[in-house]
């Protein structure tokens, strides 16, 4: 009981710190980095629903990111439709495309699924590079709107406006993931990841559940795509449909720990500042060095800790629990087990 109260206190504290962030950190570079950290947390969590919980590793999520960015931007620049509305249209488009991609490619397992998603991603990049109506390879510039009104989805002076929008998205996807872990679908996705044949023998329609996971994943990725377009005010196939986007989405989740709620957030909190700092401080002298660091990180994780940073934390927890067991009397341990049954 005490442990739960303690956790609640930490949670409230973290939320307050996050909400107050723009007020105690005014430096533009730090604010921008923080926005990117939160943005990549949302993207990592979105990827995690399909790649982590359901175990279907995708390297094509830039498709949904790009579709979100392009849909809202096109609707806004051509027809004057609010990006807030365009964001949901973009999510709808991404969900439809995720079904079209998922339906045939979910017949493929493991590496072959990953390869199919890379191919699909490249197809979209090529299409948009050659699609004149949406700006071709040049892309689209969004008009600057002054006044910093929330309804415009643009903030020229008060940059923290972007921060609060992406923070709200983070809150939403954390809530969705938290609920997912505690419903039948969450259990089913894990079962599919662990052994899809065994899952089928237990009455699980694996294609349907993988599709559900992909649809949720695609929708969240697309709304972040719209956010990115509004934040940067310029989109092009080489930025929003880039394979690098897909890879980085997977990377933040894998670094932090796939199939966990906190993993992708931790992954983004470690990876993004590192990328930003190396980019800024080494630019010109050693351009692309952050990519070398990325590569080293991937190698280190896959060799030493495939479960990611959350894996390291869990091991530490287990060790601590094992030490604690010696001191604790047995009845306490069983009471705790019973409580787990009731609560979890």
């Amino acid at each position: 009981m005490q442990r739960i109260r303690w956790q609640l206190l930490v949670l409230v504290l973290v939320v307050l710190l996050l909400l107050a962030f723009p007020f105690y950190v005014a430096q533009p570079f730090l604010q921008r980095t923080m926005i990117l950290v939160v943005m990549w947390s949302v993207l990592g969590l979105a990827w995690n629903i399909l790649g982590g919980y359901a175990g279907q590793v995708s390297f094509g999520h830039a498709i949904f990111f790009g579709l979100g960015a392009y849909t809202s931007t096109y609707l806004f620049t051509e027809w004057g439709i609010s990006p807030w509305l365009g964001m949901f249209v973009g999510a709808g488009v991404a969900v439809l495309v995720s079904i079209v991609i998922g339906w045939p490619s979910f017949r493929l397992v493991g590496h072959y699924f990953a390869i199919a998603t890379i191919a699909a991603g490249e197809i979209f990049a090529v299409i948009f590079r050659n699609w004149k109506a949406v700006g071709g390879a040049v892309g689209i510039y969004l008009p600057i709107i002054r006044g910093d009104r929330l309804i415009d989805y643009q903030f020229q002076e008060f940059k923290a406006g972007y921060y609060y929008i992406i923070l709200a998205m983070l809150a939403l996807i954390v809530l969705v993931t938290y609920r997912l872990e505690r419903t039948r679908m969450g259990y089913y996705l894990k079962a599919i990841r662990e052994d899809s044949e065994a899952a089928r023998s237990l009455g699980i329609n694996i294609t349907r559940y993988k599709l559900y996971a992909m649809m949720i994943s695609a929708a969240f990725t697309a709304i972040v795509g719209t956010f990115y377009a509004q934040f940067v005010l310029y989109i092009s196939p080489n930025t929003v449909f880039a394979l690098a986007i897909s890879i980085q989405m997977a990377l933040v989740a894998i670094l932090g720990g796939t199939g966990t709620l906190l993993g992708p957030i931790i992954g983004a909190a470690v990876l993004i500042p590192m990328a930003e700092y190396t980019r800024v401080y080494l630019a010109g002298r050693a351009g692309g060095l952050h990519l070398v660091v990325y590569g080293l990180l991937i190698m280190l994780i896959s060799v030493y800790q495939p479960a990611g940073l959350m894996g390291i934390y869990r091991e530490w927890q287990h060790k601590r629990a094992a030490r604690g067991m010696v001191n604790d009397s047995l009845p306490v341990a069983t009471a705790e087990g019973g409580a787990d049954d009731a609560v979890a």
Binding site: R182, T183, R184, Y187, Y188, K190, A191, E194, D195, E197, A198, A199, R200, S201, L202, G203, I204, N205, I206, G337, D340, D341
Partner: protein, 245 residues
């Protein structure tokens, strides 16, 4: 009406005929033994009935309904559950979570699935291990878990693929007791084993597969003395040497 009816089932993999024109009926409440030497086509027959392979020819009827070619998840939803010859537990999930995944089929809500799963774990003697990761169990407990998970789907018919293989004598006794308990609860069972000794005291009826053909369908006593069965198990040489003596 028999619970399960197999009519002229044939399964070919390219040029290889793994099952040839098999006819079989299983009555409600029965414990049926399915035996045969390695490579006789027992697991293939299992896979054809439970939806993992589509049969090349023939029909499978369950409770009078034609389920030929249904995918595994639909077969399970209809009331047929199975275990695997090589255990397939959900390794990174706990024992309780494994059984809950099965229970969700009939209890979509988490609390109800958990309650049902705990009952089944109590019944199958795994309750004390419910918070352990499935990968950390012994092979005997993994098999027990697989059975518990299959039971959680509330099957009418249960296929056990070599549930006793690799167990020591006391573990086999436990498994046999479990099969009896399930039978008392009215679950129809088909046990696949290639060790005859395990099947004989349990099954009321035994069918024998050899090279994809059903060569005998009889009581355990008669099966043990059936010359074709002895030949299938021990080979032509055995009969030849006996003839000389």
């Amino acid at each position: 009406m028999p619970l399960l009816e197999i009519e002229g089932l044939t399964k070919q993999f390219g040029g290889l005929t793994a099952n040839h024109n098999i006819h079989l009926q299983v009555e409600e409440g029965e414990i049926l033994g399915l035996i045969g030497p390695n490579g006789a086509g027992k697991t293939t027959l299992f896979n054809c009935i439970t939806g993992f392979y589509p049969p090349t020819r023939g029909r499978v009827r369950f409770q009078g309904r034609d389920i030929t070619g249904w995918p595994p998840e639909r077969v399970c939803q209809a009331g047929i559950a199975r275990t695997f010859q090589i255990v397939r537990v959900l390794r990174e999930m706990t024992v309780l979570e494994n059984v809950m995944v099965g229970a969700f089929l009939r209890y979509p809500r988490v609390e109800e699935a958990r309650r049902h799963a705990l009952q089944i774990l109590e019944f199958s003697g795994l309750i004390d291990r419910r918070h352990e990761l499935a990968r950390n169990l012994t092979i005997a407990n993994k098999k027990r878990l697989e059975l518990a998970r299959a039971l959680a789907t509330k099957p009418r018919l249960l296929f056990l693929d070599e549930a006793m293989a690799g167990l020591n004598p006391s573990e086999i006794n436990d498994a046999v007791a479990m099969v009896r308990k399930l039978s008392e609860q009215g679950i129809t069972m088909i046990l696949v084993e290639h060790v005859m000794k395990v099947i004989m005291p349990l099954a009321e009826r035994v069918v024998v597969l050899d090279s994809g053909e059903l060569i005998a369908d009889d009581t355990p006593e008669n099966i043990a003395t059936n010359p074709r069965v002895i030949e299938a198990y021990l080979g032509e040489k055995y009969r030849a040497t006996r003839a000389i003596h």
